[in-house]
Symmetry: C2
Subunit: 180 residues, 2 copies
């Protein structure tokens, strides 16, 4: 990802935080994490993140997906001798299309959005509108996407160890370099 | 506390959630927890709470303090063989006056609001405006109050076991009965 893309995505993300009425400090605004996961198509597959807190026991983040942006399929595995990350997503703005392996019989045809250009294998759909939430227990395969208005999602979780996540799409790199 | 007071406080709390742009489900709105801690002066000492999630490992709440309302001094003690609750408060609306024992030399005179009608013994003041936050580690004595505009505070924490909290004011009962 180029530095200019990071800046562009940060500016876009700020618009969505504002739509959700989320107030950030200047430092948080300047350091929004832009994750393209090494796929090089951040506007399609990627997400924007402000991490409020991440201690040994607790993590809270505020995530943005621009319209139709997809967070690719992954699961949280045991890390540092602890059980994998448990996370609750709460939609604050827009519409979230969330897919898990809860119903293993769900099929591609059950997905009400276009399939993304990254490997997905689970299709049990949950749609979250503002005020609605869903809890993802450790080990659950999941991916999610925003609808046409984008989405802002609060995440409440155990310690974030996203660097150990297992991704379905083997092209993915969790912490790719930013090119100057 | 009378049922009519609970209803009145819920209606008041809804106004503050709205000011903060927090979107709640109808079920959450109907079940806002109104805590007077058995002191019988909820508009002065008490708080209003929506608990989004409380699992074995993670808890997230959205709290309201009406103008000048005070959450009394307490600390979170080890419970069920686990370390005490760790919590991060993030101000979403209004102004929070938070007091901890971080600086044990802080004195009553350092408190920039009137002292509340409940026992307080720690006076290290932190003021939180929207977007600002503070993390309270287990065992830390703390109390907090809203300024004249009230406050909405997100809490990100480990499992909530507030029923085992240790309160300075010995009149306090964590789960007092509601009279019909």
């Amino acid at each position: 990802m180029k530095r200019s893309e990071v800046i562009e995505m940060r500016e876009l993300a700020l618009q969505y935080y504002a739509k959700a009425g989320i107030i950030l400090t200047d430092e948080e605004k300047a350091n929004i994490e832009v994750a393209d996961l090494g796929l090089g198509m951040v506007k399609t597959v990627g997400l924007e993140i402000v991490t409020y807190i991440n201690t040994e026991r607790v993590c809270a983040k505020e995530m943005v997906l621009i319209p139709h942006q997809v967070c690719p399929e992954h699961r949280h595995v045991p890390t540092d001798g602890n059980e994998g990350k448990e996370e609750t997503f709460r939609c604050r703005y827009g519409k979230v299309y969330l897919y898990t392996d809860t119903n293993k019989n769900a099929k591609k045809e059950d997905v009400s959005i276009p399939l993304p250009p990254t490997d997905v294998t689970v299709f049990d759909e949950t749609i979250l509108l503002p005020g609605q939430q869903f809890t993802i227990m450790p080990g659950t395969l999941h991916w999610f996407a925003a609808g046409e208005e984008g989405a802002v999602i609060s995440e409440f979780s155990t310690r974030s160890t996203d660097e150990t996540d297992w991704f379905t799409d083997k092209r993915i790199v969790r912490e790719p370099k930013v090119e100057e």
